[in-house]
């Protein structure tokens, strides 16, 4: 009997959501404040059995003056988060002259003549996403200032969507329709030795149960090629992986001068790490141990992660918020994130389950960390790390997906969202 969770089914998109949020999404950074004004009216509202759903606001720094494929990346990330399974409906807040959602049609102008204007909106409609749109520069009917009218109209749209979202009920959903992201940050020696391997056992179990799992943070896998080679079974995957690692090495080399540090860093060496391979193995073991589970694909940043099972590797930076944003924009319903020193990181539409194996950190920062892996039990009760991980962490992931449990990141209102950029802005 494959495991199931309770989730919101979205008929028009054939997806299951672990949350039923309404998202306020600025399409360009210039209207962050306007989007925030719209959101403020709803910031205390919660719905769902545990109050796990709310109106979320995705402030970010993208959407204008991008060069080259940065525009494509920003577009993909915004499209990904707006059509995320955890989102019931989205309000696009645009300025009118940003790169992604432009001015509305002039009288007499056909839609084909101004296709870019509608690209994001149109794609969302085509995907069956519940979407509304306010545009600051557009003349809005009625009296008063345009900015204030946009706030008013935006709030009206959000109110409609909140009422719809409140009426929805969870249904039984197979785990095979879910995507889980894994990551790590603010690490210490307990991360590499215990927390990441513990997550690795949970990942094996999730993949065997039919879920898709995605890991990222390319800079942190450099050095663990022996492990990656064992995870590759397919030539096209190998080709993509090779290209990704080549680029990452070249980038790292180019930046070496500015970083002014070797890798492992002096800090790593002081805490007992001797080589790059040792450092990155401690990080990558979160992708699992089962030799039968191979990489299903290597994906670009913020690319949709296929549902239906398998282990995926997504290009992304080591930085926590950017990496999580990439995986969440790719459709991760929840993210498991290990930490040694402690970090409050979360994500705008997906719960982030934070795990530590450092007892002191957990005692000191239990307001931001969800799960402690009780490693001292290894030596007192003879339980294996795998048993501890499946006992302490695995059920939490299922509870979080079902909405029976809120993560600390959600309780703290962490709506982190920041899109990776590769170039300077024009």
């Amino acid at each position: 009997m494959p495991p199931t969770v309770k989730a919101y089914y979205r008929e028009s998109r054939k997806v299951y959501g672990a949350r039923n949020h309404v998202l306020v999404l600025p399409t360009t950074l210039c209207v962050n404040r306007l989007a925030e004004l719209i959101w403020e009216e709803f910031k205390e509202e919660r719905w769902g059995d545990s109050g796990e759903n709310r109106v979320v606001l995705a402030r970010h720094n993208s959407g204008c003056c991008h060069i080259g494929f940065d525009l494509e990346v920003a577009y993909r990330a915004l499209l990904g988060v707006a059509s995320h399974p955890n989102v019931h409906g989205v309000l696009l807040v645009s300025l009118g002259c940003g790169q992604l959602c432009k001015r509305p049609l002039a009288p007499g102008e056909s839609k084909e003549q101004n296709l870019a204007a509608f690209k994001l909106y149109d794609r969302l409609v085509k995907r069956g996403v519940r979407v509304r749109w306010v545009n600051v520069q557009e003349p809005i009917r009625g009296s008063g200032d345009g900015f204030e009218r946009a706030v008013e109209l935006g709030r009206k749209f959000v109110r409609e969507m909140v009422e719809e979202a409140q009426a929805a009920k969870r249904v039984e959903a197979p785990l095979s329709r879910f995507v889980i992201g894994v990551g790590n940050g603010a690490s210490d020696p307990t991360s590499g030795l215990f927390a990441n391997p513990a997550v690795g056992y949970v990942v094996d179990e999730l993949v065997r149960s039919g879920a898709s799992v995605v890991f990222s943070q390319t800079t942190e896998v450099l050095g663990s090629e022996e492990y990656l080679v064992g995870k590759v079974a397919d030539e096209s995957v190998a080709r993509k992986l090779r290209r990704l690692l080549e680029t990452a090495y070249a980038l790292k080399e180019a930046l070496a001068e500015y970083l002014g540090e070797s890798d492992p860093t002096p800090g790593n060496i002081a805490s007992g790490i001797s080589t790059l391979a040792e450092k990155s193995l401690g990080s990558i073991l979160k992708a699992g141990f089962d030799p039968a589970i191979k990489l299903a694909d290597v994906l670009p940043y913020a690319h949709p992660v296929p549902r239906g099972g398998g282990l995926y590797f997504m290009d992304g930076p080591g930085e926590d918020v950017l990496a999580i944003t990439g995986m969440v924009a790719g459709g991760a319903h929840a993210v498991i994130f290990t930490t040694g020193l402690g970090t409050p990181v979360g994500s705008v539409v997906s719960p982030v389950v934070k795990v530590t194996a450092n007892r002191e950190t957990y005692a000191k920062l239990s307001k931001i960390i969800d799960v402690y892996v009780p490693v001292e039990e290894l030596f007192s009760s003879g339980a294996s790390l795998r048993e501890l991980a499946l006992r302490e962490l695995y059920p939490v992931v299922l509870e979080v997906l079902s909405g029976d449990r809120l993560t600390k990141s959600e309780l703290n209102g962490q709506m982190d969202f920041d899109i990776r950029s590769y170039w300077l802005r024009a």
Binding site: P189, L193, P197, G223, S224, E225, E226, Y227, L228, V229, V232, D234, E235, A238, R239, L241, R242, L245, E246, Y249, I269, S271, G272, S274, T275, L276, A277, E278, L281, G282, L285, V375, E376, L378, F379, G382, S384, L385, R386
Partner: protein, 196 residues
């Protein structure tokens, strides 16, 4: 954390000290999934989270943690020694970056080499890879599988028939093993052979 040594995998020859270990005191070794498997007596004080050798590692031997090679010993490491940057290095034969970029470079050729010609150290092959440095002058390395341009690189991939002496060289064997493993996995391609 308890005063013991944690061994992640059965293949590991180093363990991690979970707290500071004193010199000459016997500490239990815990292996993941198996429990307590023995003891180790550090020859020097070991700071918390640093590695201690669980067995003797010869010079050039692999240092294994997490069940994977994390480097090679640059000197003999005795059981109980602290294993760190002073005695372990990332093995140059595990320089994946170089493998990825170039195929495995063994050396360069100062003159044009025709297909089928024997490659000899110092004659038509200037060795670059550490595995070849121990070979005497004029030692036979292999036969060119196709023409190599003057100043061109000699790689695993454009030579055939490595000589028996090199086949017994541990480093070289490991190099070849890794090369073919990466090749099979599709992580490297046979380098394009320059035709002069």
């Amino acid at each position: 954390m308890p005063a013991l040594v944690y061994k992640v995998s059965g293949r590991d020859n180093v363990g991690t000290a979970l707290s500071r270990l004193e010199e000459g005191v016997e500490y239990p070794v815990y292996e993941e999934g198996r429990g307590f498997v023995g003891t180790v007596k550090p020859r020097v004080p070991v700071p918390a989270w640093h590695k201690v050798a669980l067995e003797r590692i010869e010079e050039g031997g692999e240092v294994v943690k997490f069940g994977y090679v994390i480097g090679v010993a640059v000197t003999v490491v005795e059981e109980g020694d602290l294993v760190h940057v002073t005695n372990v290095l990332l093995d140059p034969t595990h320089d994946f970056r170089q493998m990825v970029r170039q195929g495995l470079v063994l050396g360069t050729s100062p003159v044009r080499v025709e297909k089928g010609e024997v490659l000899r150290v110092g004659a038509n092959l200037k060795p670059l890879h550490p595995a070849l440095r121990s070979l005497p002058p004029r030692a036979r390395v292999g036969v060119a599988a196709s023409a190599i341009a003057e100043g061109g690189t000699v790689r695993l991939g454009n030579i055939v028939e490595p000589p028996p002496r090199l086949r017994r060289n541990e480093r070289y064997v490991r190099l070849v093993r890794d090369f073919y493993r990466l090749l099979r996995a599709g992580l490297i391609e046979f380098a394009r052979v320059e035709v002069g």
